[in-house]
Symmetry: C2
Subunit: 190 residues, 2 copies
DNA sequence: TCCGCGTCAATACGACCGCAATGTGACAGC
DNA sequence: GCTGTCACATTGCGGTCGTATTGACGCGGA
């Protein structure tokens, strides 16, 4: 075969460029040309790997999900062996919150995709599955209704962090407060 | 003066058309032409009342806020005289959730504006003020940290309702569950 | 050796965009 | 009844969009 190249690597490279554009200028600024320019390529290259724009968007959505999943895994691993369920859940939730620039960029893209999905059912389906998977996993460590509430709370906190409505400390306080109400306060008052 | 018309009425008419387009086809489908067509007018008319597209978008954002505010007021009024704080809060929160088609349409537009605002600080400022006002109002009827958490929870529930991740009953259950934990369960068990 | 395919650039095309300039009809005041 | 001005329609410009087409280049297999 001629000129070997790793296609998935290329695709990921393009998707990364897409996310940079989306995080900086919004999802509506994502065009074949802008993404190609950001990736240092031509529109032809982008089109070679993604036949249509929709394909590209869908792949980017999967990449964002992958980022979040990887961060969650790393955060849980960092807890050491046999961590308490509460700590696992807390660590995972914290990865959903835009608490540093990397997570903030992903958060912006994820938010943009939520809006994008609001009028595109097949995209919404992808997100829905992701959320349900997380909720079900949480439900193995806490009552199912609490897992449902927790996930919505975290999503809302992420939204308010993204718009700078709440500072980070407030959001984390709200998260810990809710975890307290589910698992009981660690040891202090009440 | 020649041919009198009510300018704010026209502006609202155009903004309504904008929101119909945004709810059905997403905010990125909002263009002068589409909005004008939806309003049964010409682009010239739209331009006459909104010099630039940004102006139009900002006005539409205010209209959405107005819708929500009006619904909240009506819902609280419907509670009768001297309602309990918990019922006031519940009624207001319910108006933030997309539980019928009208609120769902507004919710879609509001979500789109969140994403829109993520890369436009001056738009985010408008939303931020709205959320803070609501939070502060809630805080007059419940502990301030709880008001913060509640607002984020409701926003998250709205997001999940919009993507059909949660059914309405689940979302309302989560809302009531949280209100229980703040105000105490009305009378039943525990 | 050279053919064919994977890879990528360049360019063209038609649609649509925001915006501005210009045209037109209706009405109020003189 | 002429005229100025407001309300709106029409048209066109410059630009960007997504997509399709075309062709050049590099290299493994015959």
């Amino acid at each position: 075969m001629p000129k070997r190249v790793d296609p998935t690597e290329r695709r990921t490279l393009i998707a990364d460029a897409l996310m940079r554009v989306a995080a900086e200028r919004g999802l509506e600024a994502v065009s074949l040309r802008h993404v190609a320019a950001e990736a240092g390529a031509t529109t032809g290259l982008v089109q070679h790997y993604f036949g249509t724009k929709d394909e590209m968007m869908l792949f980017a959505l999967e990449v964002v999900s992958g980022h979040i999943g990887a961060r969650m895994e790393a955060a849980v691993d960092a807890l050491g062996p046999a961590p308490a369920p509460r700590e696992v859940i807390r660590a995972m939730c914290a990865q959903l919150l835009p608490l540093d620039e990397a997570r903030r960029a992903d958060g912006k893209v994820a938010l943009a995709f939520f809006a994008y999905a609001a009028t595109r059912p097949h995209v919404a389906e992808v997100q829905r599955r992701g959320s349900e998977g997380l909720r079900d996993y949480f439900a193995t460590m806490m009552p199912e209704p609490a897992a449902t509430t927790l996930l919505a709370l975290v999503e809302g906190l992420a939204l308010y962090l993204l718009t700078d409505t709440y500072p980070a400390a407030t959001a984390l306080g709200a998260l810990d407060g809710y975890l307290d109400s589910v698992f009981g306060r660690p040891d202090s008052l009440v």
